[in-house]
Symmetry: C2
Subunit: 388 residues, 2 copies
């Protein structure tokens, strides 16, 4: 298979976008990516759309054809398809788009992720989120996503002595980063005290330990790495694309304090890219809940098991720390429009590796990683990126 | 890219499977395919799951991880993903699975399609079906899928003189074929009179012009063609895989009487496979509505535009006619569990090309085609198959 590069990136601001529909924001992110790449829309040969739940949220499936249509490409009749893997839909869409170029089937492919979550009532959101867990074993018993992650957090505290303050240091850091990102849903810093005093969602997790409900879209243009020189922007090489699954239900796993799909996918990705965890300069991690970031930076091999909490509290994952984690603000502060998240992670890494991340720029960032997770780790997708 | 073959097939009976959940039937079809291929489940390297609307129908997304888990593969942590393109989800899943093998990324891949439609009330089904159309331009105005196809039928009658009897000859033929298929939802022949006297759904289409609401699953095992000899069954080569899109809304198209996505996808597929329409011995066509089969056999080039109706009434698409169309019974009689349909089409073609289609066997079938359509033609996926 041939090497693949990102030649264009685009996104919308994430947030409660009351005046924009799913098709508006999908189209806007796509147009931004086309413009960034300096190509004509007609050069796009195929579309891969990451989306988790538009059927439930806005009664609309068939988003491949929809995005092609509303991007003005319907006369070209290009192949377009929606990819779904719960919260990892965007990362999986990138993986399928990557494969379409790596295989030689297509030369220029657009990968987009989009989700419109605010068109339903707040009461409907927990059921939509639980569609990424196991409804027959978990949802039916009343479990919600925050309650499942709360169990993981409580067990992590029991086994490794992780503290409430260590958990809280994740959203504090991510809001600090989000304050530097004009596309983030929340662009303000918060204090440790704010997190600790926030209303409890599922003990020990409070409101500020949980990513918000968001609308948003992001898009990438991919091309063969050996042709990347002819496009407008510095190309970012996709050095590895790996995915792994686990049991859908948390209760069927050996341990509550690790996500094996993260370990398997990242181990594969490191091998393919020929790097190891300490080579990663900047990483976008799936902090759907504060405990998820702590477990992930352990399972990715950035820190030893049990050291994720202390490392975060000590500032090792801040910008220009040991590894710069969630410079975008992460799911917590940038926002988490589910199917868009995995694509937005790649957009942020590309910005960092281009050296165009403004005030949140990581110094001399050469190697980046994204981790996109579905449910409680039923699916994980890891990509590794390099300056070409 | 390397050549790909089908080395195993499996399905469940289609119908109202009250006693089985989505995970039951997905697993059963998968196990049947594994058994047919004579492989161990552990040899499967990746899963591609075609499903249209489990989020809306059973509040469950994340079907890649779910099927991997309930097939007993969770300990292998293999990549698994759901593919969605409305009614063409199964065909698109086959296309992505094909690409995973053709590219060299994987050697043995399972493609499965599954849908469980009978867990919701009859009142909810039209909205779920319309999620494959354009909700913002069509659904919001009260359009349903049958009403859109009825408009296509009425215009086809106006432009080409297609008659009510010609439309009715589609379900008459397909029920005749379904009566020979033990996996079909409806295994009984019907008369022309039954179709003509059936209650009107959307004039000119009656109940018998519309595919039913179904539960069901189907699965395929794919492997590189050059390794196919080491498996249990006669391998069936995938000679072409092509997909195309069109506007999501019918009203934005130039013509109501053709589906351009069918023309574009099939033209590409014929070129790739090095065949032309008259080389096709057996075809599974997306007869979601009787008019859809008539338009499709024209747009596929089997008959001139406007000749689809007379050709069907004259028996040219019966088993061992000019081209044998929907020998399985098609969507009308075999059933249409949306995401399963495209995979079930490939299962039927493989049975025919293996010479194992029992009483509905097409004599000396060498080249087969499947056409899987999403919505009113927003997506079309065409595969061409050959005896290896």
């Amino acid at each position: 298979m041939r090497e693949v590069a990102i030649i264009g990136i685009g996104d919308t601001r994430f947030g409660e976008l009351w005046e924009h529909s799913l098709r508006d924001i999908g189209m806007q992110a796509g147009l931004n990516a086309v413009s960034d790449a300096g190509i004509a829309g007609e050069q796009i040969e195929a579309l891969y759309i990451g989306n988790m739940a538009a059927g439930s949220l806005i009664d609309q499936e068939h988003l491949g054809a929809l995005v092609s249509d509303y991007s003005g490409l319907s006369q070209l009749h290009i192949p377009a398809v929606r990819i779904e893997a719960a919260g990892a839909s965007g990362g999986m869409a990138l993986r399928e788009g990557y494969l379409a170029v790596a295989s030689g089937l297509h030369d220029v492919v657009m990968v987009a992720g989009a989700e419109k979550m605010t068109d339903v009532t707040d009461e409907e959101i927990p059921m939509v989120q639980m569609a990424g867990g196991d409804q027959q074993w978990e949802g039916i018993a009343g479990a919600t996503m925050p309650s499942l992650f709360a169990m993981m957090a409580r067990r992590h505290m029991h086994e490794y002595g992780t503290t409430r303050e260590q958990l809280a240091s994740v959203p504090v850091k991510n809001h600090k980063n989000g304050a530097l990102n004009k596309q983030a849903q929340y662009q303000r810093a918060i204090t440790m005290e704010t997190v600790l005093k926030s209303p409890v969602v599922a003990d020990p997790l409070g409101v500020f330990d949980c990513a918000p409900v968001s609308d948003g879209a992001a898009a990438l243009i991919l091309a063969p790495a050996d042709a990347a020189g002819k496009y407008a922007q510095e190309a970012i090489r996709i050095a590895a694309s790996a995915a792994a699954t686990d049991t859908l239900a948390l209760q069927h796993r050996e341990s509550l304090t690790r996500m094996d799909s993260v370990k398997v996918a990242s181990t594969k990705a490191y091998r393919t890219a020929g790097v190891n965890p300490k080579d990663i300069d900047v990483a976008e991690i799936h902090d759907s809940y504060s405990i998820a970031e702590i477990m992930s930076i352990e399972d990715l091999g950035f820190f030893e098991k049990g050291r994720g909490g202390p490392a975060t509290l000590e500032g090792m994952t801040e910008i220009n720390g040991v590894v710069s984690v969630n410079t975008s603000g992460g799911l917590k502060a940038r926002g988490d429009p589910m199917g868009a998240t995995g694509v937005a992670q790649a957009v942020e890494i590309a910005r960092q590796l281009r050296g165009k991340a403004d005030k949140r720029q990581v110094t001399d960032a050469e190697v980046g990683l994204s981790l996109n997770v579905g449910g409680t780790g039923g699916t994980s997708v890891v990509h590794i990126f390099r300056r070409a």
